[in-house]
Amino acid sequence: MDDDLRALIALLAKPGPSDDTVDRGRRRLQRAIREPVRRRMVRPRWSGWLAAAAGLAAAAAAVTVASGPVATVGTRSMPGNPPPAAIRLSGRQILLAAATSAAHRPAASGTYWYVKTAEIPWHSNHAEQSDEIWTRRDGRSWTRSDAPGQGVREVRGPRGFFIDDTTITFRQIQRLPNGPAALDRWAVGMVRHEPGVPRSAEDIFVSDTLMALLYQVPAPPNVRAAAFRALASLRYVKSLSPVRGGQDLLIVSSSGVRINLVVNPATSRLVRYSAYGIGRGVIIHKDSVLIVAAAWTNRLPKGAG
């Protein structure tokens, strides 16, 4: 029925692209694909499924969304399993213990802040593609991902440390507030400055920002401690079980953001975490991030550009 139109419009047809045009476009795309490596490590991605807003919003704080994008991390025990017999700290106590450990950890130093993470997609339990990033105090950074054909290369674009998609300087990091309420206010401010974050999704981004302080940037010991305390003050904190590397915790904020994290309370090391929240009609989730390393180092790997 539309063939008459097609025949007519065929009159407008122009020659197709030359091979050179195709190649040039492809190269442009590949450059764009390789560029923003940082984004993989940061924001809860908008993996949004439009869901029946009413029903899910109501279920926010209470229910585990069935077969949904909940990142099941390690040996997470189901609610209702009997707790292990030995002396158990509550979830909140574990976070506060981590805060104390964080405050007492001597401030280390080095040339590069090195972070290595791996992502565990929600539909699998294997870590896929890891990213490494070395950031210097002056804001220059180098990255390496284990995607095929990638070596160590300097990151082009804005300089600085990254918390999510926002850059922050070394000096700003050192001056972050070290009280939990003030830090929380700072995190809210950061998120509100980010374009395109809907109010209903703010909470998950704010908790993501607090998490970032624990490993993504070289936050001073007292700031890390304050971040743990801010997390400990959220509405619901439950210790699930000891797992390899630390304690598995579930935190639910009053707006229904669920954070699942593994932390070592003795060293204050954040081992892995995932989060998901329900905004207005949209489920936002962040894949489980495994933090392999977050420390100062004095050297870049060989072959760095």
Binding site: L11, A13, K14, L29, I33, Q129
Partner: protein, 207 residues
């Protein structure tokens, strides 16, 4: 057009035999799950759809504009990949929607192109020997009329006509691409058809 398709297929087969069929069958859910993990797979989408998008843009804006805008479509798509909702539609209408938006920014260029085409008045043929000559002449005579008629359409109707006729999208896909209802697609098409038919017939009559 067929030659271009073959070339697209061959290109995509280079190196990875399965890329074309994978990208061709690339279901939206796979896309959402896969591309997030492996953004480099987006080049498979480029390989699969670049020629189609290019031809669509070229017919509207000419080859020179298409050289840039077709590639731009995929850059924009890659940048917006997180916003692509697999539950609501497929890759093809999504990409054509982006291409149409980009083309809309070059509205004046499009208008100039139609105006230039409309001004071409073909020479009368020396001999009417073969059918082919007649066909060629008919095409030559129709093109300027078509260009003028298209230029006179409202933007929304023109987009629908060209997505159906150039992009080979179904009505449902056009609705998806433009973010309008299927009913609106149908009514815009009917109105456009009528306008174009009237315009062309009128010109033909008036010579």
């Amino acid at each position: 057009m067929r030659a271009d398709h073959a070339r697209a297929g061959r290109r995509a087969h280079d190196g990875n035999e399965d890329v074309t069929s994978y990208a061709g069958d690339l279901v939206s859910e796979e896309f959402a799950a896969g591309i997030g993990r492996h953004p480099e797979l987006f080049t498979a989408i480029y390989d699969r759809y670049f020629h189609d998008i290019y031809r669509y843009i070229a017919a509207r804006l000419g080859n020179q504009a298409a050289d840039d805008i077709a590639a731009e479509t995929f850059l924009v798509a890659f940048g917006q990949r997180d916003r692509f909702d697999p539950g609501r539609g497929n890759l093809r209408p999504w990409l054509f929607g982006i291409a149409t938006n980009l083309a809309a920014r070059h509205r004046r260029e499009e208008a100039r192109r139609y105006a230039a085409l409309a001004r071409q008045r073909p020479e009368p043929p020396a001999e009417w020997v073969h059918d082919r000559v007649v066909d060629a002449v008919t095409a030559e005579r129709l093109r300027p009329l078509l260009a003028k008629a298209l230029a006179a359409l409202p933007q929304g109707e023109r987009d629908v006509v060209l997505l159906v006729a150039l992009g080979q999208l179904s009505h449902a896909e056009v609705a998806e691409a433009l973010g309008i209802s299927a009913g609106t697609v149908g009514s815009r098409l009917s109105r456009a058809r009528k306008r174009m038919r009237d315009a062309i017939e009128q010109e033909a009559v008036n010579g």
